[in-house]
Subunit: 513 residues, 2 copies
Amino acid sequence: MAGEGQAIKAVNPATGDTMEPSFGGAVPADVEKACALAAEAFDRYRETSLEQRAAFLEKIADNIEALAEPLTERAHAESGLPVARLQGERGRTAGQLRLFAKTVRDGHWLDARIDPALPDREPLPRPDLRLRNIAVGPVAIFGASNFPLAFSVAGGDTASALAAGCPVVVKAHPAHPGTSELVGSAIAKAVEDAGLPEGVFSMLHGADHATGTALVTNPHIKAVGFTGSRGGGLALMKAAASRPEPIPVFAEMSSINPVLLLPEALKARGAEIGKGFAGSLTMGAGQFCTNPGLVLALGEEGLDAFVSAAKEALGESAPATMLTPAIHTAYDEGVAKLEAHSALELIGRGGESTGPHQSRAALFAVDHEAFMNDDALQAEVFGSSSIIVRCRTAEDAAQVLERVEGQLTITLQMDEGDTETARPLLPIMERRAGRILANAFPTGVEVSHAMVHGGPFPATSDSRTTSVGTLAIRRFLRPVCYQSISESLLPEVLRDANAEGVPRLVDGDMKIN
Amino acid sequence: MAGEGQAIKAVNPATGDTMEPSFGGAVPADVEKACALAAEAFDRYRETSLEQRAAFLEKIADNIEALAEPLTERAHAESGLPVARLQGERGRTAGQLRLFAKTVRDGHWLDARIDPALPDREPLPRPDLRLRNIAVGPVAIFGASNFPLAFSVAGGDTASALAAGCPVVVKAHPAHPGTSELVGSAIAKAVEDAGLPEGVFSMLHGADHATGTALVTNPHIKAVGFTGSRGGGLALMKAAASRPEPIPVFAEMSSINPVLLLPEALKARGAEIGKGFAGSLTMGAGQFCTNPGLVLALGEEGLDAFVSAAKEALGESAPATMLTPAIHTAYDEGVAKLEAHSALELIGRGGESTGPHQSRAALFAVDHEAFMNDDALQAEVFGSSSIIVRCRTAEDAAQVLERVEGQLTITLQMDEGDTETARPLLPIMERRAGRILANAFPTGVEVSHAMVHGGPFPATSDSRTTSVGTLAIRRFLRPVCYQSISESLLPEVLRDANAEGVPRLVDGDMKIN
């Protein structure tokens, strides 16, 4: 909705120019109105049939695809990201919505359970007990700057919340208000076409923290989805925990995604891995949550080849426009701090900038002891910056993994001969990360059933969740038990007939229709 | 373990006498030692096979049953609860552990998922992705005073955490240290007999808040289970949220469990319902989380019969020793405050006390307007105290339900003719409670698959969870994704062979072995 507050205009980071039109920022009354509409829509929206809700998600996907090139062009102008990347991201956004539509129809997420009555049980009869998940309530979602489509207005958080049956109030990211407006309209149109109450979806603009805080502390809001900085996530967690009724915040914040180079792989493929690593590091100006910001090299043989190849590839990497002037400034400051660090050796930088707000990749190296002595070296520098830690042994690497904070991912570069080196490291990796991968790089997150884009704090605020993949729906659900409720009052999915054919756990056994 | 701190002795609430022996309270070093042992045991314990872990849970159940009458006698002396009730509770405690053993073997809780690689997919191949749940880490559990067996040292929180693969550090409730010590020894013996590391289970005594705070803020602890007062739960939530690494607290705190008397049922069975209600209210001196502390009477016809029958049954109810002198004092103060409230009418009290720390049931009535005007009337008075709100219409009742805080349960007393009166109330009940029941009373919580003992704040700290039933295990699990990890490094349950035969979601389809 157009707010009554201060107008917001996008800045094209590739030129520094301010862009038309302006978008009205939300005032407190706008926030309250959006939340009240969401609360009003909740009971009706959460009881849409599985088919109706799935069709609604698919309609949103269709509407976003119909925005076609004007959408990717606006997103390109607002974010500096290449058009081809944004076309892919648009496809991913639509694909995500369609995957959630399929998930809604499958009905596993309902976790339907029936424990039939046992009237003759001694000493006491058992009543008829039935359980299903319902939506938690209206959800506040914060668009992320680094995925103006796939993790913004209609991104994974919105798709999973809508799939769960939650009305959504989006706080648009001020870096791409025009893109947000286009996508927000596509959702609003789907709401209208489906005959759903308008409060199922609202969007607010706001350049300062006040709008976000008002949203998270609004009593109608029952959960929060956020992808962004550690500081931003922590502030929302604090605001949510301080409410009279505390609510969960699912914040995806900070991760440096360690990559382990195991000895045999390093020996056999040092140069190849170095080149691949540099590609992962510089992709999208390094502006991915899963950007590999830490490399643990186990052993010396092949390390020179890795370093040379990585350095060469970085040197050839084109400078890339960052998402916003502020992100670019923070990146340059972060890299400058590392350059000034006495224990760090600069390995290489990316090509020189040719325009405003472009970042140059940066790769450093440090000895194991020095890394262990300074926790500041594990702070995320958002962008294409990474540090190689020279570990003499697997024990050195294990020490580092025990020391780093929670991560989204940890990667193994390994050959068959490294299996027994990897084995004792795996339990540590499981404790430290949500996803463990071998012989790939952490950038590139599949949207599927088995994906986890989450991990121990500060990777996320709640290690029990993922923000990518179908499991993301579970964040926005809560179980309700119906005891001896008559058939006509039971929700459809718990009636004996099971007309929607959802899988149900009956007396502990899974029954699939 | 025997702590180095201030000794703790139990008080027999029926006599006021201090009981031997004394138990050493924990000092900070004791807390650190227990937590460090738990962390050390974690990787090994969480990778026990399903069969090994299930057998371990069953062994704990056997050991608790083998404690036989000395256990229930000690619990009776420490809690004032009748021996017969405690015998039943011992059976429930063992039964709970065995149900979790069965759950562990079933393997649904692992949520195993496999998205097979799609090497030929365009534009990009899909890697092999596999997901399983792992335990979150060592868990701190606080024994509850009101279930010295079923929600204390080896209660539902401990059983579900151990089932998930979490080592457990219990803070014993100071009201029943001897009972705790007996049960703690039964668990420790099972740990030893199973050849598991001793850190899988530890128990600490502590009479003040310092031990609990030290436990919740210890960096090794990754989640907290608590059943108790709202003040206690809020303090733990705050301590956990303020840690450098915030952790989830699953606190079950406060609920007044509204009971709705719908017009037709009230008309037809007012007296019968009144008698049943009084039984539920006075059971166990009202010291249940699901005690019915609020009655919403819809309509006038039959209400007199309900009130008379309830009053009569209350008058005949024997006074009952409360769990602790402090709980008794708080109860008396709570009832005195209600007696002094100008808008409340005293309907009846239970029989006169015949010994120390005995409570007398109390039933009040109030008009709908007066109830709506004073939120203090919805504060829980822990014990056999309840308020009848006279509602003229279903809309009055709906208003009350929208106004009350989150609840564990909401009950409908209804006949067939009440169905259409109930229908519009159900969505509100779903938003307000974790369990909705018809023609029963909320006390008496089945331990099964479809049970929810949870609900919106302040009933619990996280409405997405239950502390009773098999779903309670989910609180202590987090997903981990394995991308392109070789068969020999994958956990057993994700290998192609699926030797343990767990159900798995393969490419979105459930495969049950």
